[in-house]
Subunit: 257 residues, 2 copies
């Protein structure tokens, strides 16, 4: 069933929804839906419900709620993926796959070994494009929340953002090479459902020691992601898959027994 | 340090190695190495060691062993990723990222909803190309084993291959939608280090019920991969990340304490 993200928050007392703009266009012109058809409406405050089309107007469609969508599809912790600017279209890949795998937020920042440099205009365009990719991926993977994307101009912006997290990890290649394997598990055991974990990833060239020092001084913890060296676009997916396995399969907070 | 895969098996009593062909070319012509330089040599039987260049000849380089590489970099279980033929170059992505993440083997087969159709000649070319991608990815991610790739002509070939596995899972979208979340954990608890787990993935169009019936009749078990719907090229990476988390981080068999 088709899924549409709305900017409003879910409100129990509302008994009719009016959908306009892009979702209206997709529903009525692209999918050619009619009165009686059902869709999922996903709200800004993590709620989603099944709704039935009651009436199709010239530029709006009126829907009535049928049932609240029960299944919790979001990772119990908020995970922010923060990537040192990688080359080419790897950020597109990270955002698309990372959204499927449950990330709450994507940040990107200029790392010392980053090759790409974007002026404010390019950065803005790239950010909008990535936000669109996140939205499409969220709809396709049945997410109830659409992740946000932000491209920073400087590393100081990243350090400021780090303060919004309950815990910050740095995926450091040198840690992996030395066989570090305890930190990710310890972190998952410490970060409780509802809390915010941020993970920093380097670009293709990796991190310089001075960057690691800066991140650690700001409270980040270095960790390995298993014994194999992962590319800049693969490492975030490892973390998200591991987080899902830990929080959703091993320790399912939805279990009623 | 550069890493080179050799076709021979490691033999303790050998005290000098002669490397020719492509690895020789890369070492001497591309990297311009000389006597005294060190490299990793990776053997056909899961051993790898650090070696020093003793002499550079016209078309061969002679190396002497320095030390056995201690760190276990391979997933404790063998994981085979079996993908229903996806569109475009998704198999290239799956093989590259799947190799970084530790897969032992890649199979691909024609699923009922697969759109691509390759004749034997195309299939052979594609298989060789994918094998090369696996080799490059294995070298870059410091694998000690190079995964194999095989493209099947029919689903019957896949069913025959299933018999080589100790356990076969089918990543089934319908299971995920219904909230199935126990099977992957149970499977990881059951498949012991050294054993072989095969996981079947559908193409973009998913599986038809008749295919699921066929796989289940042959002993496969359906499972979900968390509550979000994953694309055909993302799902294998989820399984490999989860396997690494389970076998290498949570239950580290390398721990000496």
């Amino acid at each position: 069933m088709q899924r549409y993200f709305l900017n409003e928050s879910y409100n129990e007392s509302v008994h009719e929804y009016e959908v306009t703009g892009e979702p209206f266009h997709h529903m009525i012109r692209v999918m050619r839906m009619e009165a009686g058809n059902h869709v999922y409406l996903v709200f800004a405050n993590d709620m989603s419900l099944e709704a039935e089309i009651r009436e199709v107007k010239a530029d709006a469609v009126m829907l009535k709620p049928v049932a609240i969508e029960q299944l919790q599809r979001e990772l119990p912790i908020k995970v922010t993926i923060a990537s040192g600017f990688p080359k080419g279209d790897k950020l597109e890949w990270i955002v698309q796959k990372g959204t499927e795998l449950g990330a709450a937020q994507f940040l990107a920042y200029p790392a010392k070994t980053s090759i790409v440099k974007w002026d404010p205009k390019k950065r803005q365009k790239k950010q909008e494009r990535l936000q669109k990719i996140a939205q499409e991926a969220a709809e396709q993977s049945h997410r109830q929340v659409c992740p946000t994307v932000e491209l920073f101009a400087t590393q100081s912006d990243l350090l400021a953002a780090m303060e919004t997290a309950d815990c910050v990890l740095v995926a450091y290649e040198e840690s992996a090479k030395k066989g570090e394997h305890a930190q990710l598990v310890q972190t998952f055991r410490k970060v409780a459902p509802g809390q915010h974990l941020m993970v920093l990833f380097g670009p293709e060239g990796g991190f310089l020691p001075e960057e690691i020092e800066r991140f650690v001084a700001a409270g980040a913890i270095c960790c390995g992601l298993g014994p194999r060296i992962l590319r800049t676009e693969t490492a975030p997916l490892y973390v998200l898959g591991a987080a899902s396995y830990h929080y959703e399969l091993l320790h399912d907070t939805n279990d009623t027994d």
